[in-house]
């Protein structure tokens, strides 16, 4: 439910930039949401319809890309793609353990990235 304040922040950011550019309408918003951010894209869609009413962004399309986390080598800091499956928490340790050995020859990983929420661009008219 923290999506309400986050959605308001998304809308405020979009409106501020739209007004600076003196446009009439915001047609679409491109968002990147971290898979570990605890931000649920469906909630954002739900709240956006509500908070954007009677604004330049009313009816705008939301394109939301969910950014997966990475595995980071604890020894050298190198990052690797991590096959994140949100519903299979039990498999995480096994998945981390089965990653290819890092170039630095260590075999200790932790999660990195996959947090935050970014408004990448807006389509305006």
């Amino acid at each position: 439910m923290h999506e309400l304040s986050i959605t308001q922040a998304i809308l405020d950011t979009a409106l501020r930039h739209a007004e600076q550019a003196h446009v009439k309408t915001i047609r679409a918003l491109d968002l990147r949401v971290g898979a570990l951010s605890g931000i649920v894209d469906e909630s954002i869609r739900f709240y956006f319809e509500m908070v954007s009413r009677d604004t330049l962004a009313e009816g705008a399309l939301l394109r939301i890309e969910v950014v997966p986390p990475h595995a980071r080598c604890r020894a050298c800091g190198a990052e690797y793609d991590f096959p994140f499956e949100a519903d299979v928490a039990e498999a995480w340790l096994a998945q981390l353990g089965s990653l290819e050995r890092c170039a630095c020859a260590q075999r200790a990983y932790e999660l990195s990235g996959g947090t935050g929420c970014y408004l990448d661009s807006i389509d305006v008219e």
Partner: protein, 232 residues
């Protein structure tokens, strides 16, 4: 139709206010943000910490809850200055709420400012409050799989307190598995198993606070010295 590229951090307003909080709290006061699910023992940990550090370090506390001043009452009974924030349904604290609470606390007479966030292992993590460290409090009764199921909170934590150690003999929970899960998510977090009931393990937590405060003050002195050198 035109595309305007932004790459804007949606939480930049909160982050900016958090930076102001950091400035006001200053380089001499350690600020901790306690995050846990409801019932893990955050308030009890604060009570025990206040009692144990009495006469050594001065605490100030901000309590976050959906409703009531029950927690503030418990902390005030320890002789600690406390402000209660009621979020009226809000699932997390935001930096602006901390900013509003700061003037009500005697920061000049405090060494450690502890924020007890709303009991919630999901939402608070995205909101920087201006703290020096996020501390996750988990407890044995929650099971050993919570770090894997709620990774974001554990990922962001500098320290993880594992409370209710006294209940270990009665619970089918593996401390090894719990620690392994935390380490898999975050290898840098200091893990401190303790019991707020018996006091076992509490000393490690108090030492962690002392060390973190010393490190912050040393860093502050270093910065001040550098700034002074740059002026001349």
């Amino acid at each position: 139709m035109t595309r305007i590229p932004l790459i804007a951090n949606v939480l930049e307003y909160n982050t900016a206010v958090a930076a102001d909080v950091r400035k006001i709290v200053g380089p001499r006061v350690l600020m901790l943000n306690l995050i846990s699910s409801p019932g893990a023992g955050k308030t009890t940990l604060i009570e025990r910490t206040a009692a144990a550090l009495k006469g050594e370090l001065r605490l100030a506390v901000i309590e976050g809850d959906l409703a009531t001043t029950l927690d503030a009452g418990r902390v005030a009974a320890q002789g600690v200055p406390v402000v209660q924030i009621n979020t009226n349904g809000g699932c997390h604290l935001e930096a602006r709420q901390i900013m509003a609470a700061l003037p009500q606390l005697p920061l000049g007479e405090a060494d450690v400012l502890i924020i007890e966030n709303v009991g919630n292992l999901v939402c608070p993590v995205e909101f920087d409050l201006g703290e020096d460290a996020q501390v996750v409090v988990t407890s044995l009764t929650e099971g050993d799989d919570k770090p894997l199921k709620y990774p974001a909170s554990f990922m962001a934590a500098q320290a993880v307190v594992v409370n209710k150690l006294d209940l270990a003999p009665y619970l089918p929970v593996s401390m090894d598995r719990l620690c392994q899960s935390i380490t898999a998510i975050n290898g840098r977090a200091k893990i401190m198993p303790l019991s707020c009931v018996t006091g076992e393990g509490l000393e490690a937590w108090l030492d962690w606070i002392r060390t973190a405060l010393r490190a912050k003050c040393a860093q502050g002195r270093h910065r001040a010295a550098r700034a002074a050198l740059q002026v001349h």
